[in-house]
Symmetry: D3
């Protein structure tokens, strides 16, 4: 059977700062520049969540995209949309919320909650229209 990848693109807005609490303010400023502004900044994030699997001969779907949308809503967006990534997201606690660390944490939130028939194949996370990261798991 053909294996097809299916993607849902989602959107959210959040505040953050790139910051290590175990470093001095000067050290944070020196390494991370304006991204470490103590009064925060924020972004409109766009994320492509891609799952892969065989087409279910009964429905013609790899996975119902409404189901995928709901899963991402419940496991990720409900926790991060209009939130502060440094202080308000339990599963980012003790994580410096660079886009790289963030995408790996989102991967962990999603990968074991998909239906058995599909695998999480790829995440793409845009922090701005010019910068994005991709992760395909270990």
């Amino acid at each position: 059977m053909p294996r097809v990848s299916v993607t849902r693109r989602v959107h959210f807005s959040a505040a953050h700062r790139i910051h290590r609490p175990d470093w001095s303010d000067d050290r944070n400023q020196e390494v991370f520049g304006d991204c470490s502004n103590p009064q925060w900044h924020g972004h409109n994030y766009e994320m492509d969540v891609t799952v892969e699997g065989e087409i279910d001969p009964e429905t013609g779907y790899v996975m119902d995209l409404k189901e995928l949308k709901d899963l991402v809503q419940n496991r990720v967006l409900a926790d991060v949309d209009h939130r502060n990534l440094n202080t308000q997201v339990p599963w980012l606690k003790d994580t410096n919320p660079t886009t790289e660390n963030f995408i790996v944490a989102i991967w962990e939130r999603l990968r074991e909650h998909l239906p058995e028939r599909v695998a999480l194949r790829r995440l793409v996370l845009w922090e701005t229209p010019r910068n994005y990261v991709e992760y395909e798991g270990l």
Copy 2:
């Protein structure tokens, strides 16, 4: 010689419904929801057709994109643009036109009609700006 992938993005509009004729209307509605509306709905589809090959040292092209555009026009768009995917496309007959089934059928329309020098590498098919599928063959 370096192998490069070359993509042409194309656009078309079509009507469809997600529907199994061997199921009752109630069953279709239950599984597919509004996507199974008996009076149809439709989409502006965008599709990226990607071929891969070595650069031809004579022309500097992997494949002339005008040729690729014409091939996609003749083998796919001429049949589906401003058409009903359930009732008017011979090569979709007996296919429930989910995006997954549709992309596999398009792959079959294209793969043996490319020049020998290149291989069909990937199709990406957007049904909406938020949903898309990818296929890279068996």
Copy 3:
């Protein structure tokens, strides 16, 4: 007080055909071409709904965009998303659903249902990424 325009962009998918029932099939085909395909075609529509008013000094809003979104959802999208514009939308009955006729009908659905403080200023309706219409009322 400064007057500001506020816009919410919305998305829906629908089937239609450009068609006059009082004309023969041949006449429809001659004037409207493929857009009159009797088996329908469809689009992903994008629409910008713009209201204008003074900034409310209490909230700093011209209009809460959530309220505008809900209004457009209830008065327009609930009737047209995943529907057939020719056969399933009561307020388009007896209307040839060109983008021009459609935008005027949407205007009438919205303009008397806005809060008193704001006026409907402009609608922009994209039928494809290359074609759109604008309407600002009589």
Copy 4:
């Protein structure tokens, strides 16, 4: 002489919350919902800055876009990019940073600093890809 409008589109990222300090937290939450999250959220803003004037017969420009870009950089972006709109921008002090109030404040930052030959005609400010405001002055 023909009058032409010339636009530069710029980008910045900032944190904010919709919040009235003279209201209780409960009242802020009730009226502004998640947008009033005390731990902030943020956005990638896009802004179109449009000036209008006659074409200078010497240069063929209404205004050198590099000059316009520098002006917007110095008068606006340097103060707001990677900043907190509620706490770090002197010219937004005592302003509830809704998009409506923000665009009017930006207008005031720019309008008297343009070369005499051109007038500030319009600002468009996107807070998200689905929400934007426009202002054309008093």
Copy 5:
């Protein structure tokens, strides 16, 4: 009858330089910088052509967009696509091809060639995704 604006977005690629032949190379370089590179540079232009008129009660169209597309193709794109704006376009002869001068010249190419029922209302011409000009006639 309602008046509606109808827009067709078109695309072309061209070479140019910002340059006054009656100025020295040094003077051109000083005023126009890299845009005056004697070996040319180029752009993908996008243009929105907007016409306005009453909806034709017979067709439901303000203007058949295919007709508008053909007109723009014949009067503008055929002359400028894959051409050098300084040396190969008869109707730009003796014009310094800034975006401002270019849009006024395009306006003149189109305005008297539209059907009587509609008026040319607005042109928008993007030179890059960040810079555009608008013209609405004298």
Copy 6:
């Protein structure tokens, strides 16, 4: 440690023609059509530069995107932006500047200049919004 891909999207404008100097003008015209216009044409190019590596546990970055941006600026954009690809770029000398040849040449400009911790994974180069090429190295 998780390996993540990080991308910076950049923009530039250039003139070129598809042309082999060892062929006659007629032969060039026959094979390359308008793309071989002797008076040049040009494009707004967009390019995604993707590097891959482990997340640095100290910074949470795979690579500081500012560093990547500066590298691409110095090694590529400074040479090609507002330039003629056929005549003004030393590292494209004797290269027919098709998008395929261009992307391979850019790859060579970048791959040995990245920090040791990361590898150049992929380039994507858009010549128009409808045509792009990808290269992942030999």
